[in-house]
């Protein structure tokens, strides 16, 4: 929450499989901490994500979207958020990527570190896991190491998701670990 007029009721709750909520942060992969803001009259409410980057509004129409945990910003009461859902494979990733499923009918706001770039996947596509924002569940994925082990350790590329099938994927043009590495390069050793 950045700012709000006073006539808003804020309720805080947590639990997995929680629905009808607005949230700013998500704890771990299991439980979630959500704030629900209910307006008592017409009010201003400012919500912003943690990182420098984009915010995008998506409208879901009785459908689902898989999101990287940090990409979820907020949603209206028609959207439910689940941390565990069928078909979720656990990801081994340096980025610690955890996935959520947002489904229902209503507005969903996603955010990114960097710019959001939308890609229509029609053939096999490899994405560095840290750059994932969201994707349609029509896409299948496999986690793999980029190149061989030597490549992984030395290339700096880490783990990737190999997508197949067809559907829309949203990616971000920056990764948080990249910021750390970049900063460390300027500091005395």
């Amino acid at each position: 929450m950045v700012y709000m007029d006073e006539a808003i009721e804020v309720k805080t709750a947590f639990g997995s499989g929680f629905f009808s909520a607005l949230a700013r942060k998500i704890l771990g992969g299991e439980s979630m901490f959500l704030n629900t803001y209910t307006a008592k009259e017409e009010v201003r409410l400012g919500i912003a994500p943690e990182f420098a980057g984009d915010v995008q509004e998506l409208v879901l129409n009785n459908e689902s979207l898989i999101l990287q945990k940090g990409a979820y910003l907020c949603s209206d009461s028609g959207i439910s958020i689940k941390t565990k859902f069928g078909g979720l494979k656990s990801l081994i990733s340096r980025e610690g990527v955890f996935l959520l499923e947002a489904s229902g009918t209503g507005k969903l706001f996603i955010s990114s570190y960097g710019a959001i770039y939308k890609k229509e996947v029609t053939e096999e596509f490899i994405l560095d896991t840290g750059h994932l924002v969201a994707f349609e569940p029509t896409l299948k994925y496999k986690v793999q190491k980029t190149g061989g082990w030597k490549s992984t350790l030395l290339s700096g590329e880490g783990f990737t998701m190999r997508f197949s099938g067809s559907g829309t994927l949203w990616m971000q043009t920056r990764v948080r670990k990249g910021l750390i590495d970049w900063i460390m390069g300027f500091l005395p050793r």
């Binding site: 420098a52 980057g53 984009d54 960097g114 710019a115 770039y117 890609k119 053939e123 096999e124 596509f125 490899i126 994405l127 560095d128 750059h131 980029t146 190149g147 030597k150 490549s151 030395l154 290339s155 700096g156 590329e157 880490g158 190999r162 990616m171 971000q172 043009t173 920056r174 990764v175 990249g178 910021l179 590495d181 970049w182 900063i183 390069g185 300027f186 500091l187 005395p188």
Partner: protein, 225 residues
């Protein structure tokens, strides 16, 4: 090679389309996404010593990756670690001096020299390491912040942390800004006085200041060893 810079100007990334067997060289960890037929080769280009120089002096990782589109065309997206813009420049048998961390990717025909000692200064540890890129080919470099190109004619003074790149046709000289008191208290660090004529690519954020600001938040380790 065809390319498109997306996410400009705030978080720019480069989408490259390679023809079959075409290559591009990129900084470690810069790959965002790629087609499955792209082969990544990790090796110390130019022999072990030139890579060592790269890591010690420039903060660039030891290994540069070479990406090749095998058998058919392929696409790769690259992004730098810094927040800001990306500039494309096609070098035509010329040189460009880049700041540490500004190099993103480029044609394998370009030569990267991290031993460039153009800035002679007895103030060390100021992050004054720069790379020299020479030859012909496509070069992509990044900035921290927005890029403003200044065509220098006459004397112009730029804080060294705000230099993304410049043409070595310029005369350049490192100075303290103001008097001695100014150096340590002004926060300005070292500046570069450019003269003659040529382009300077100024970035609107200072990577040294930002790193120092981030540094003040770090935990102090009480290592009992």
């Amino acid at each position: 090679m065809k390319f498109e810079i997306i996410g400009k100007p705030d978080f720019a990334a480069i989408k490259v389309n390679l023809e079959a067997e075409e290559k591009i060289q990129a900084e470690t960890g810069a790959m965002v996404s790629m087609s499955p037929n792209i082969k990544i080769e990790t090796k110390a280009k130019g022999g072990i010593f030139s890579s060592l120089k790269r890591v010690i002096f420039s903060g660039e990782s030891f290994f540069q990756n070479t990406f090749t589109a095998q058998n058919s065309a392929g696409e790769i997206m690259f992004a730098p670690g810094s927040e800001g813009d990306v500039v494309h420049r096609e070098l035509v048998n010329e040189e460009l001096i880049l700041s540490r961390g500004a190099y993103v990717c480029g044609d394998t025909s370009l030569v990267i020299d991290s031993k460039w000692g153009g800035f002679k200064s007895f103030f060390s540890g100021e992050g004054l390491t720069f790379l020299k890129i020479s030859g012909s080919g496509n070069l992509f470099f990044c900035s921290f912040g927005a890029i403003e190109v200044v065509n220098v004619s006459g004397d112009y003074i730029v804080d060294t942390g705000h230099i993304a790149a410049f043409e070595p046709s310029l005369n350049y000289h490192i100075e303290r800004v103001g008097g001695l008191k100014s150096l340590f208290l002004s926060g300005e660090g070292l500046v570069c006085r450019f003269s003659g004529s040529g382009k300077v690519y100024i970035q609107s954020r200072n990577h040294n200041s930002y790193a120092m600001w981030a540094n003040t938040w770090r935990r102090v380790s009480r290592s009992s060893n």
